[in-house]
């Protein structure tokens, strides 16, 4: 596709349930990021994939959070046993890492509401 696609765009889940968020990056983009953005706040880094390197998981807030990426394609962010504090917009971005082409292109995000 032309841009980064995230699904679902909105998700309401009950506390304690698991959720899976999906990100389809721009084709050929080697780098993929996940960020969390609470209402009116900044971007909180979660995890970073770059090619076949080991992902940088330093931003994952707890072991309830995990993410996978197959090659340079789709990524899924999984939150287990969701808590109300997990309510936020989850943004995915992808980029090339080639000179000036390090611009990150963002998806529209998934708004997660835990009730």
């Amino acid at each position: 596709g032309a841009g980064v696609s995230q699904s679902p765009s909105n998700k309401v889940t009950e506390k304690g349930k698991d959720v899976e968020l999906r990100c389809d990056p721009i084709s050929g983009h080697t780098a993929l990021y996940w960020y969390r953005q609470r209402l009116g706040q900044g971007l909180e880094f979660l995890i970073y994939f770059q090619g076949n390197s080991a992902p940088d998981k330093s931003g994952l807030p707890s072991d309830r959070f995990s993410a996978e990426r197959t090659g340079e394609s789709v990524s899924t962010l999984t939150i287990q046993r969701t808590q109300q504090e997990d309510s936020a917009v989850y943004l995915c971005a992808s980029s090339l890492i080639v000179g000036l082409n390090t611009e990150a292109f963002f998806g529209q995000g998934t708004r997660l509401t835990v009730v």
Partner: protein, 115 residues
């Protein structure tokens, strides 16, 4: 580790005025890229302007320009003739050319343009 600091959580100006958003960063790298992103209420992150650290000339994009002071590690964004559509969150971001090429964002500045 690289850090990016935006010291102005919120700013507000009248339409047609000029406004400057501040950004400072901390890094031991000599070569890197800096970006300003805009996030309007639609939530979509949009690249506004980018700067290469090895270029002394400040980047400009129509009404948007930067004041890049490498020695001071400062990268401010100036918006001239501000418009209502400029109302958004603005994020400053950094990425090194070498090493761990991970985008690092500041906490954002909420800019409101008043009619």
């Amino acid at each position: 580790a690289q850090t990016v600091t935006q010291s102005q959580p919120e700013m507000s100006v009248q339409e047609a005025e000029t406004v400057t958003l501040s950004c400072t960063y901390d890094t031991s790298e000599n070569n890197y890229y800096l970006f300003w992103y805009k996030q309007p209420p639609s939530r979509q992150m949009i690249l506004v302007i980018r700067q290469e650290a090895y270029k002394q000339q400040n980047a400009t994009e129509n009404r948007f320009s930067v004041n890049f002071q490498k020695a001071a590690k400062s990268f401010s964004l100036k918006i001239s003739d501000s418009q209502l559509g400029d109302t958004a969150m603005y994020f400053c971001a950094f990425i090194p050319v070498q090493g761990a090429q991970k985008l690092v964002f500041g906490q954002g500045t909420r800019l409101t343009i008043n009619p």
